[in-house]
């Protein structure tokens, strides 16, 4: 019963392949789709595209700034390039190119930023992307999408192609908990998905925190707490109406993101709430302005309080309720 995974095996089990297959599907009838990577074809799963369309795939080696400049040049000539690299490099290392070559010139480049948040936990802070949502949403002309799972990422890819202009799609390393097993037909840029309705409080989450929110809501329901869950996959443009409705209906908002609490989803929602003039209890869950330690993604989410239990605890605090600890720890025989 020995289980040994090689990195090759895990690539076969990844949910991130869904988006890559979607891209291949679309590319069959749309010759404008091309892809680029900076020596991360295997890790970002875009290698799937390379297998099917080797002439429409370019590997620039470990040179991210060059890659984004090239993507800009391609888009200027009418192609729709998809760049694929880790979110940290997309948002930090190559930011000048993203800002000046792509956003300023409003070019049709679609950026797949993978291994976002602390999802590449073992790699440490050099590979964590915990500031990218904040950075990217300040770029004018840029659409910022943070899908919750593989299926939603595929929907985001479709939406990105239909949108004219640059798009930033932030995904994890591929082992996402499934939120949309049947896919997400209702995916719209600028519209949050209402996953669960409720009036006691509202979780507004994106990316890997969406699953936590959904699970937390289900457990809270058993305790009689009805939590609303909004999958705010579209950070920019933000679904301001959904936020204002949640503030009005629930009066308690908890944001959750695998990202710093400074300036990301939490910051964006806070801006809307503050400008709305409506009062509510408000809490941002995420990484509390620190660099993250090394660890498995699931463990890091727990440490940062954005796993299911973290959200449940935050919800209870928001409602100021105490619950009995489960004291029975004997094995069932």
């Amino acid at each position: 019963m020995g289980i040994a995974y090689t990195s090759l095996d895990t690539t076969k089990l990844s949910t991130a392949e869904v988006y890559a297959h979607t891209l291949c599907e679309i590319a069959q009838t749309d010759p404008r789709i091309v892809t680029l990577t900076a020596d991360l074809a295997k890790s970002t799963k875009i290698g799937v595209f390379q297998e099917h369309f080797p002439d429409r795939f370019v590997n620039l080696g470990i040179a991210e700034q060059n890659m984004f400049g090239i993507a800009a040049g391609m888009a200027a000539c009418g192609l729709i390039p998809f760049t694929c690299t880790f979110a940290i490099f997309n948002s930090c290392r190559a930011l000048d190119q993203v800002h000046t070559d792509i956003c300023y010139q409003n070019l049709n480049v679609k950026m797949i930023a993978s291994h976002a948040g602390t999802s590449f936990g073992q790699a440490g802070s050099t590979h964590h992307a915990t500031e990218d949502i904040a950075i990217m949403r300040t770029m004018a002309n840029l659409v910022v999408l943070v899908p919750a799972d593989g299926q939603e990422a595929a929907a985001a890819v479709r939406a990105a192609i239909e949108h004219q202009g640059p798009v930033y799609i932030r995904i994890n390393r591929g082992f996402d908990q499934v939120v949309y097993p049947q896919g997400n037909e209702d995916f719209q840029i600028g519209k949050a998905n209402l996953l669960k309705d409720g009036s006691d409080l509202c979780f507004i989450a994106c990316g890997s925190a969406v699953f936590s929110a959904l699970q937390a809501a289900r457990e809270l329901e058993a305790e009689g707490i009805k939590a609303r869950v909004l999958d705010m996959h579209s950070i920019k443009p933000l679904d301001k109406e959904a936020i204002k409705r949640a503030v009005h209906d629930t009066r308690r908002i908890i944001t959750a993101e695998d990202h710093t609490v400074v300036g990301g989803l939490g910051g964006a929602v806070a801006e809307v709430i503050a400008e709305s003039g409506m009062g509510c209890a408000f809490r941002r869950l995420g990484i509390q302005d620190t660099f993250s330690p090394i660890g498995y993604h699931e463990d890091l989410m727990s440490i940062h309080g954005i796993d299911t239990n973290g959200l449940i605890t935050a919800a209870r605090e928001a409602l100021k309720m105490d619950f009995e600890e489960d004291d029975d720890w004997a094995d069932e025989v």
């Binding site: 289980i3 895990t10 082992f175 058993a222 498995y296 463990d299 796993d307 299911t308 094995d331 025989v333």
Partner: protein, 257 residues
């Protein structure tokens, strides 16, 4: 630090022997019977055991020793106890209970049946037996890992100590009763039967069918092959799956010798 013999004894006591409950029920060996059946062993720190309380066929498993069991199988030496459950010897322990022959025979039949089911190298032929064997193994493994944690087995205890409140589950598609789970939180653990329904478990090892499960549990199948064929699906990150797989193997290594 415990030695391997002690871990083995503890697992036989608390992960294997309790399975007699399920077996007795499945085959009706205890039907209509009443009384107390106890199994015990001399361990370095004292006598440990468990007993089954039967009331007209209904069986309750209780950990610990009963004052006056009707049937008692007592192993005076730990080595004998281990060898017996490893299948290395058929020599019987000290038996009391000839005064209740029906109960005694039922106990032996159950023990023999358990031995044959768990020692099988090939899967059983019929559906019902397959289902039972898978269920037995799932209960055995979940209780086994939990027991190793309680005993302070270094690798298991380390993992449990660091764990936030999480549930690890095993299940077979199409067989909702053929399931077990393990809840772990900050050093504490709890094995339980059936599906965890309160929320989605943190990690689930899901078998496509009974044959797939048996393939893994009886070690006739290859883990990676079954995963590639989608007969074994890991819901949750593979690192945690690998951990659980290691612990399953650990339990197996103690009880199989």
């Amino acid at each position: 630090m415990m030695d391997d013999a002690m871990y083995a004894s503890q697992l036989f006591l608390y992960a294997v022997i309790p399975l007699m409950n399920e077996i007795g029920e499945q085959y009706g060996y205890f039907r209509g019977k009443s009384g107390v059946v106890q199994l015990s062993v001399n361990l370095p720190d004292g006598v440990e055991g468990l007993h089954f309380v039967l009331e007209d066929g209904a069986v309750t498993t209780v950990l610990g020793l009963h004052e006056r069991p009707d049937v008692s199988l007592h192993f005076a030496r730990q080595q004998h106890f281990n060898d017996f459950f490893l299948g290395k010897t058929k020599k019987m322990p000290k038996i009391q209970g000839f005064g209740k022959p029906g109960l005694l025979i039922a106990t032996f039949r159950t023990l023999l049946k358990m031995a044959s089911l768990l020692a099988a190298k090939t899967p059983p032929a019929d559906e019902a037996t397959k289902e039972l064997v898978v269920r037995l193994y799932l209960y055995l493994l979940s209780r086994g890992i939990s027991r190793l944690n309680r005993l302070g087995h270094p690798s298991v205890r380390e993992w449990a100590t660091k764990s936030p409140d999480r549930v690890y589950a095993w299940r077979v598609e199409g067989h909702p009763d053929t399931a077990a789970y393990l809840r772990v939180k900050a050093g504490k653990s709890k094995a339980a039967r059936g599906l965890y329904t309160r929320s989605q478990p943190f990690f689930t090892m899901r078998f496509a069918d009974l044959d797939s499960a048996l393939s893994i549990l009886l070690q006739t199948g290859d883990f990676l092959t079954l995963t590639a064929e989608k007969r074994l699906i890991l819901e949750g990150a593979p690192e945690f799956g690998a951990k659980i797989g290691d612990f399953m193997q650990l339990v197996g290594s103690y009880i199989q010798g």
